[in-house]
């Protein structure tokens, strides 16, 4: 975490530009620019800036935005109320789409629809997120007028239905993209299971094909899929950056983007710090889930392959 913070700090300072620039406009005189630099601390040598930053990190204080003056953590908290539900809902939808279709594609791989699912998912992996977003907006918002094209209600989640209505297209966008790649993992995991010896043994002992798959297959197939899920969930969180921009959503991603544009270091560092933390937590949770599903991973030797 500390190394991540240091690397981040350095990379940000390597970008050309100055956070003070976001505060001035054409017409400002040199004294005004210097005053702005003093205010944000970009007039200090980089070493002194880093020491200052470490001091803040130590007390879990991420400072205030250079541009808006709002404490960074407060702003992140507000924006997480959008980004977290968006990610979680999209993730759930993606699983709902990918699991049944993935298994179907594996089991029915020699039928036309089995192959069709595979081909479509392959296509889905190749299409950029923002393009799917734009297509969905054109179809469902502009042409059919079923959903709003962008934004989030001011009332937030106090009116959950309105909020969901507003978030329907962004959720669908992420879910579609995510389920495409997820589906391929589910399919290959299922294929592995179908070809396995224990499944043949189970069937030899008299279990039906479906029963064998449900009793022995799902558990075995789940292990690799869960680790992929962890990674996918983390990447959805980051994919939200693009989706939030397409749909003008006031989430963590849009905060990161505008922070980078304005060289608002406290905001960028804060967002990246918190999202790194979240990604680590997700990874940890995925690990735990794997151990729950597969007793072989629980031993003290931690015999993981």
């Amino acid at each position: 975490m500390l190394i991540a913070a240091a690397v981040l700090f350095l990379l940000l300072r390597l970008l050309p530009g100055d956070p003070a620039n976001a505060l001035v406009s054409v017409g400002a005189d040199p004294e005004q620019i210097e005053a702005a630099r003093r205010q944000v601390g970009s007039d200090l040598p980089i070493g002194a800036q880093f020491v200052r930053y470490l001091g803040q990190l130590g007390s879990f204080d991420h400072g205030a935005s250079f541009v808006s003056g709002v404490p960074v953590l407060e702003e992140i908290g507000r924006r997480l109320t959008l980004t977290l539900p968006l990610t979680a809902l999209a993730f759930t939808c993606a699983i709902l789409i990918a699991l049944p279709l993935g298994i179907l594609a594996a089991v029915k791989r020699d039928r036309w629809y089995g192959s069709l699912i595979s081909v479509i998912s392959q296509l889905g992996v190749a299409i950029p997120v923002f393009w799917i977003g734009i297509l969905l907006v054109t179809a469902f918002a502009v042409k059919l007028r079923l959903f709003p094209s962008s934004g989030f209600p001011t009332s937030g989640w106090r009116d959950p239905l309105a909020a969901l209505h507003q978030l329907a297209l962004p959720i669908l966008t992420i879910a579609l993209v995510m389920s495409a790649s997820l589906l391929r993992y589910v399919r290959s995991a299922t294929l592995d299971v179908i070809g396995s010896d224990y499944l043949r043994t189970a069937r030899a002992l008299g279990a039906g094909y479906g029963e064998a798959l449900v009793r022995h297959g799902i558990r075995n197939g789940a292990v690799p899929v869960i680790s992929i899920l962890g990674i996918e969930l983390a990447s959805t969180l980051l994919g939200a950056v693009v989706v939030e921009r397409v749909f003008s959503l006031p989430g963590l991603g849009s905060m990161l983007l505008s922070g980078i544009e304005q060289r608002d270091y406290p905001s960028v560092q804060g967002v990246l710090f918190i999202s790194t933390l979240l990604v680590l937590l997700v990874g940890f949770a995925a690990d735990l889930a794997q151990r729950l599903v597969d007793p072989r991973l629980r031993g003290p030797s931690g015999g993981r392959s």
């Binding site: 001035v24 005189d29 003056g69 502009v142």
Partner: protein
């Protein structure tokens, strides 16, 4: 085999069913926008310029002028949409014979949104905020002639100047009058305008509500919501789907077709003050040579560029001054498009084989396109252009502050900004003592006519010197729903007065 496929199919079908049910449920929810019109209507204004904070002396950006000027905050004077300046919080004022003492009488019965009455102390405090060392206002310089501010009584403000300043009323139109007891102006407000802040959701929208104790005429609507977008396409879609009523300024002509051919929308073209220019660093060779600058001006077909970017919209300009400024002169004939004479001039200047230079190009529209166009045009007269793409933030460090560039593309949005050519330390480093004197003298003029005469002369001189290469004036296009009217068309200095906007029932 069959058993499982049936099961999977069933599972699949039930997922589908659940999803469809959820979709239907969601579709049943009415969109959150209120469609009703009338005197208490809510007007939704779509914009690409979200303010960074709510204080125009703390680097809030142009978005704050759009949302707050004349709506939430008022000044002693108002810059009207037609470019004229009229008294606002000032009821009456007198100027002494020598032009150095201005005595303002304030409007009676003005209340701040917090309930405090407006007094002369508030005005003094507000002006001193802009001129203070911490101020990041780009207007700070223009208020330099102010020597002292006195408040003999609650309704009178006396401003003493160190030198004449004919533009004082104009310059004061930028100075918000704020309650001197107000705290935390970056996230709250306490102004005297017809609307009070009603909530700001960062990254999304800012709402202002009609202020019932407003001293002036009652606004034509009850509430105004500024909705902010980062993508022009998302903004256009919002208007198409009815989520916003107005777009304050359309940034690309491609998107206009969908509104122009649609009877549900009004497309209105106003006059803008936004100029696109190729600014040279006039300090360094070869741009310290007038002949080179004139040659490059003649080598570029501005009309073709304007058509490429804006189609039938926009205006050609021959200098930095737009037609709405009183000192406008049609200078498009000076160094008009003529590649042959451009080549001759280059040879005369000592560059018979052409030259090479780099244009630092901001990475957002229309700069990259304009840079490529210039590259093509200048190649025809033997000038090789390298394009270096930079971000807006880098532009300030590299060009505005360090003057480390040969040429750059930039849009200048302000009204009456010819004065930049009178400052030899400005980023483009144009230094003609005659222009410096003229601009200084124009500010110290005794009458507006004298000021206009002097600035006209300066205007002609910068065009003759080809101080920069002025490519074109942007169009200012406002698109609205047919049912909405009464909005400002020109949006001078990014202002967008909302109090006159009506929405039909």
């Amino acid at each position: 085999m069959t058993a499982l496929s049936a099961r999977a199919n069933r599972a699949h079908r039930s997922v589908l069913k659940a999803t469809t049910a959820a979709m239907l449920l969601l579709m049943g929810v009415a969109p959150a926008v209120s469609a009703e019109g009338g005197p208490d209507a809510t007007i939704s204004i779509g914009s690409l310029y979200e303010p960074q904070n709510l204080d125009n002396t703390a680097g809030a950006g142009q978005g704050i002028n759009e949302a707050f000027n004349g709506n939430v905050y008022e000044a002693l004077f108002r810059l009207n949409d037609d470019g004229s300046v009229s008294p606002s919080l000032v009821k009456d004022y007198t100027v002494s014979e020598d032009g150095l003492t201005y005595t303002f009488t304030l409007q009676p019965g003005v209340t701040f949104h917090s309930g405090d009455p407006l007094t002369s102390a508030d005005v003094k405090w507000s002006i001193e905020r802009v001129t203070s060392p911490d101020s990041k206002s780009s207007r700070k310089n223009s208020l330099k002639p102010i020597a002292s501010i006195e408040t003999p009584d609650d309704a009178t403000v006396v401003i003493k100047l160190s030198s004449r300043s004919i533009s004082l009323p104009y310059n004061l139109s930028y100075v918000w009058v704020i309650n001197d007891a107000a705290k935390d102006l970056q996230s709250t407000e306490d102004g005297t305008g017809p609307y009070a802040l009603d909530g700001w959701q960062r990254g999304s929208q800012l709402a202002v509500k009609r202020f019932d104790k407003y001293w002036g005429p009652k606004p034509e609507n009850g509430e105004v919501v500024f909705k902010y977008f980062t993508e022009a396409t998302a903004l256009n879609n919002a208007l198409l789907t009815g989520a916003v009523d107005i777009i304050t300024s359309v940034q690309s002509p491609d998107s206009l077709a969908q509104f122009k051919d649609n009877p549900d929308f009004t497309v209105a073209e106003g006059k803008s003050t936004t100029k696109l220019l190729l600014a040279y660093n006039d300090r360094v060779a070869p741009f310290d040579n007038v002949k080179v600058r004139k040659a490059l001006a003649r080598a570029v077909d501005d009309k073709k560029l304007l058509e490429a970017v804006w189609g039938e919209y926009g205006t050609l300009i021959g200098s930095f001054v737009p037609p709405t400024d009183p000192w406008y002169v049609d200078l498009t004939k000076v160094d008009a498009y003529d590649p042959e004479s451009a080549k001759a001039l280059l040879a005369e200047a000592g560059y018979p084989d052409g030259l090479t230079f780099t244009i630092d190009t901001p990475n957002y529209d229309p700069h990259p396109l304009a840079a490529q166009f210039l590259q093509g045009e200048l190649a025809k007269v033997g000038v090789k252009v390298n394009i270096n793409v930079i971000t807006a933030n880098e532009w300030y460090t590299k060009i505005y502050k360090a003057h480390d560039f040969q040429a750059t593309l930039q849009e200048h949005v302000n009204h009456r900004d010819i004065v930049f050519y009178g400052n030899p330390d400005f980023y483009w480093g144009y230094n003609n003592p005659k222009v410096v004197d003229l601009i200084k003298a124009s500010e110290e003029a005794k009458t507006v006519d004298e000021q206009t005469e002097k600035l006209k002369e300066a205007n002609i001189q910068i065009a003759e010197d080809a101080a920069s290469n002025w490519l074109y004036l942007y169009p200012q296009i406002v698109v609205s729903k047919k049912s909405v009217s009464g909005y400002p068309l020109n949006g001078l200095n990014s202002q967008f007065f909302a109090y006159g906007i009506k929405k039909a029932d």
